[in-house]
Symmetry: C2
């Protein structure tokens, strides 16, 4: 069975909203995420329910079935593998790949994605540090990942991901060379606004509380 691009986008949206909120996702929330109207969402959700991709109770919100989850995870796998390709092989910056990957993720061919995966040496994380589910739908796990804001002063670690993936934020990080894989050390926190000093590339920079709350760090043991 194959699904339309729109159906796949709904499933992906429901998957990510459910993972954020841990409860049945409301029509309104989906509408906002997909930039469409709640009434359109109701229609589509009924359709997905008829195909046994979601569980839907009027006025009660939506959750994915096993079948719906599998499709959503496959699309996420496609998306992230394509992002790796765009960055590693074609030299895109990490803030430039999202839109193109949104298109590429819907290409219908399991074989293609498996071959891409192999071509890229089975990457476990995408350029934003998000885990790439394997063929069976299992997401790689990161051990001691915490937010930069949770590190103590003097602690060290490696940037392994971002919580916020907006282009504004990614461009900011690019400019400050706060990219995936970089080693950092927290040297100081300013009580006034909770901004922090960081050593990166052997230089000290100050970053705001907001930035600290959106950078995912793997602690140096």
């Amino acid at each position: 069975m194959s699904y339309t691009r729109t159906e796949e986008n709904y499933l992906k949206a429901i998957f990510s909203l459910y993972n954020k909120e841990n409860k049945a996702v409301s029509t309104n929330t989906i509408a906002k995420k997909l930039k469409t109207k709640p009434s359109s969402v109701t229609d589509m959700v009924k359709k997905l329910s008829n195909k046994d991709l979601v569980k839907y109770e009027k006025y009660k919100g939506v959750t994915l079935t096993k079948k719906g989850t599998d499709i959503a995870v496959t699309i996420i796998r496609n998306h992230r593998i394509w992002e790796v390709f765009l960055v590693e092989k074609l030299g895109y910056k990490w803030d430039e790949v999202h839109e193109i990957a949104e298109q590429l993720e819907h290409i219908k061919s399991d074989e293609l994605i498996d071959r891409m995966d192999e071509f890229l040496d089975n990457p476990k994380f995408d350029p934003h540090g998000d885990p790439i589910p394997d063929k069976t739908g299992k997401f790689a796990e990161r051990k001691k990942a915490v937010l930069l804001s949770e590190l103590e002063i003097k602690e060290e670690g490696i940037i392994v991901g971002v919580k916020n993936t907006s282009n504004d934020f990614l461009q900011y990080l690019e400019e400050k060379t706060l990219t995936i894989g970089k080693e950092i050390k927290v040297t100081k926190e300013f009580e006034f606004d909770k901004s922090r000093n960081l050593v990166v590339n052997e230089r000290v920079i100050t970053i705001s509380k907001e930035v600290c709350n959106n950078l995912i760090i793997e602690k140096r043991p």
Copy 2:
């Protein structure tokens, strides 16, 4: 301006049919090529005409405008560049790539195709030997390309393309290792059925008239 996948497929079909027939393309012909109904073609062709992509006169057939040609050529460029990628980088056989390239060709990003082109070292021909138009729409030319059936006995050359791209034919060639780049020499023709003996890979094989009529050869000077 951006166009739907269907619109792009119509333009591509009209382009290739016009290049084959050298006259305005009929509704019926397009319908056959796209496996749809003539009435659907009429509808779509009107729509394309309103967008100034084709010139259309009732009962007289269709030709592409400059604008329509540009789009068709871009899609062909995309298709052929993706085919090179699939074969060269992912190890697909040349008879396995068409369907996937039909999907990939519609990805909307000029930048992406330019980067792919560069990543693949600006290939001039696709895995079937068909020329890849450059960014400006110019197709590479092949000098002394002839059909294998036009070679004289004792003449030598290199396989540079196929006229027929059906999977049946490509699989046949794959099996006989008659692939792009191979050097061949005609040693004999059997008057009875016009089949010919060929030296390839230092071995002699006999191939039918039909095969000779569909292999494009660049003569050894």
